[in-house]
Amino acid sequence: MEERQKLKVTLVTGRTIEQGVGKERGKMSKEYVESVSVCYMDPEDLKKLKIKDGTNVLVSTCYGSVIVKALKSLRAPHQGIIYIPYGPWANVVVNPETNGIGMPSFKGIPAEVEPAPDKSILSLTELLKTQFGKEAYANS
């Protein structure tokens, strides 16, 4: 099997209207989880990785790595910049450095993206359990 290509990019996190609507609907809602476990990429970058819109990718930075779904950005062109909405998935890979003023670095983080079509996105409860080792409340 040919070796999967990695792409060096800059990670930006931020708001999207889907995330805004999802968070107001409920932070456990399907809308919210689906709106924040994604990564918007430039169509050219998707081509470089030889993947299609909707393929799962592994995003890695010096601080961690997480599986999210790559989506074709409607805000192109922004080659070399990937965009993950704020949320528990983005937090795994953002830079906690506060530069002595209390504010972590949520934007402009060097990152790598590689295709991971055979890996699945963790549910919120699974993500919390794997990241923090504490059993999360689950709707029963």
């Binding site: 805004g20 922004h78 972590p104």
Partner: protein, 486 residues
């Protein structure tokens, strides 16, 4: 069915107060005038993710308890802690924030609000440079140039443009909505003609990717103008007369370049932050020649490289522009009462956020007393989170220490933080099931309405916090007596 008019929307810092709700059998059934987020909140607040019973984690499992038990447990955790964190506060009323500050003083904790991870650096810069500002009403009526820098109001403050800036109908400045429609039509027409020519004459396939988006075609015309500066061509950028696509972490260079250009200094480079200097000169001319300019900046400036220095540069640019014309600057505040959290904290303690009461008096030193730093240094030993979701908004390293220690959450909805909590106390939605006051992003206090009753047994944040404070005082009194007897 009952119709309630002039309801304030408790979602973002724009605090739109013209929402019309239809109430039927104690539920909101219809929302008029709101944006997508507003509609989602008013229609979804009482959905399946609502917490209806207080819960305490016992042997790793959540057990439903009475409100009294939950409040007693929360008070016990906080009274025993040496250095507790009290965090959140931006999505609740000013009354609840005031009680929270009293509780922080009582237990000697560090109290911080969500501005620490949004506009904290802006507050630091404002303290150093100062801020020329005004109300959103003045901007609506007078501003003929509006700049959004590192902010995408279309996504985060959907009605900001329509209510307060270029698409609002002001007394002295008219809405530019028609100009925008004309621009879109012109662009679509141009695109169609180009495509037809290409297909018929050249028989070429369309280019795979659109041309560089660094600059945006401009249609020269009268009326309000909109400039957007962002790393991506956001939806707001598509509406702009001038769009500047800045390279990530290069806002500082761009701001300083504008400062040089408005003073007629020559730049001996061809590009700044990936943008041609010629284009910047054109935009600088527009800035200097406006009658009333407003620069709104978002977390694109505070979270990128440079952080507070970016804001220093933005505030300085506006100060410089005021030597030529009238210009104001304002941060685009996120949560509906984050401005209130800063305001109440300032009038109670002297400081807007990151206030440490561990020495018995308020101390403020962001970087040391800010909640993310306290967590990264692993110093806190308990936490109370009110109306916020730090597990979904803090970097992983900070969250690790937060969830390792006893965690109390007061929130109407189940969220990632409540999932990790040890004590969960459900509360009423402020602005829907409880009244109060919130501060809009321009520091105008706006009343929030109670439009429906909360579910049975659910109290507003303020009353729950009062209950915890009373209980903490009882515990302290008891332990004081015991110490005397010994």
């Amino acid at each position: 069915m009952q119709i309630v008019k002039a309801v304030t929307c408790p979602v973002c810092g724009s605090l739109c107060d013209d929402i019309e709700l239809t109430i039927d059998k104690g539920r909101v059934v219809k929302v008029k005038n709101g944006c997508a987020m507003c509609e989602s909140k008013f229609l979804g607040y009482c959905g399946e993710h609502r917490i209806l019973k207080p819960m305490i984690r016992k042997n790793g499992e959540f057990a439903k308890v009475t409100l009294k038990e939950a409040i007693e447990k929360a008070a016990e955790i906080l009274a025993q802690a040496n250095y507790p964190i009290l965090y959140g506060w931006s999505s609740t009323s000013c009354g609840a924030i005031r009680v929270g500050l009293e509780l922080a003083e009582e237990i000697g904790g560090v109290i911080d609000n969500t501005s620490v991870v949004c506009h904290g650096p802006s507050l630091l810069s404002v303290q150093e440079v100062g801020i020329p500002s005004c109300t959103l009403g003045q901007i609506r009526h007078r501003a003929d140039l509006v700049i959004y820098w590192g902010s995408d109001p279309w996504s985060a403050h959907p009605r900001h443009i329509e209510r307060y800036t270029v698409f609002s109908e002001g007394r002295f400045e008219k809405s530019d909505w028609r100009g925008y429609i004309a621009k879109i039509r012109a662009l679509i027409g141009k695109k169609k003609i180009q495509t037809t020519i290409r297909r018929l004459v050249l028989k070429k396939k369309p280019p795979v990717s659109p041309p560089s988006g660094k600059v945006c075609p401009t249609i020269r015309r009268e009326g309000r103008k909109l400039i957007v500066v962002d790393v991506r061509k956001t939806k707001s950028a598509e509406m702009a007369d001038y769009f500047i696509q800045v390279e990530p972490n290069k806002d500082y260079e761009l701001l300083q370049a504008f400062r040089a250009l408005i003073h007629d200094q020559e730049l001996d480079v061809d590009e700044v932050a990936g943008v041609p200097v010629e284009y910047l000169e054109e935009v600088a001319d527009v800035m200097v020649n406006c009658d009333f300019g407003a620069l709104f900046f978002g977390v694109g400036l505070t979270m990128s490289g440079g952080k507070l220095k970016n804001i220093d540069a933005a505030l300085s640019l506006v100060r410089d522009l005021n030597t030529y014309t009238k210009f104001i600057i304002m941060p685009m505040r996120g949560h509906f009462n984050v401005t209130g959290a800063n305001t109440v904290s300032t009038w109670q303690t002297g400081y807007p956020y990151a206030v440490d009461f561990s020495l018995g008096y308020p101390r403020y030193n962001p970087g040391e007393t800010s909640v993310v730093d306290v967590l990264l240094r692993k110093e806190s030993d308990a936490a109370l989170v009110v109306a916020s979701d730090p597990v979904a908004t803090f970097p992983k390293e900070a969250v690790k220490h937060l969830v390792e220690n006893p965690l109390i959450v007061i929130d109407p909805h189940m969220n990632a933080t409540a999932q990790m909590a040890d004590v969960v106390i459900p509360s009423a939605f402020v602005g829907i099931e409880a009244g109060g006051t919130a501060y809009r992003m321009d520091h105008v206090p706006i009343p929030l309405k109670k439009v429906v009753d909360p579910p049975p047994g659910i109290l507003p944040d303020e009353e729950i916090l009062m209950g915890i404070l009373t209980e903490v005082r009882k515990i302290k009194k008891r332990s004081g007596k015991e110490a005397e007897e010994d």
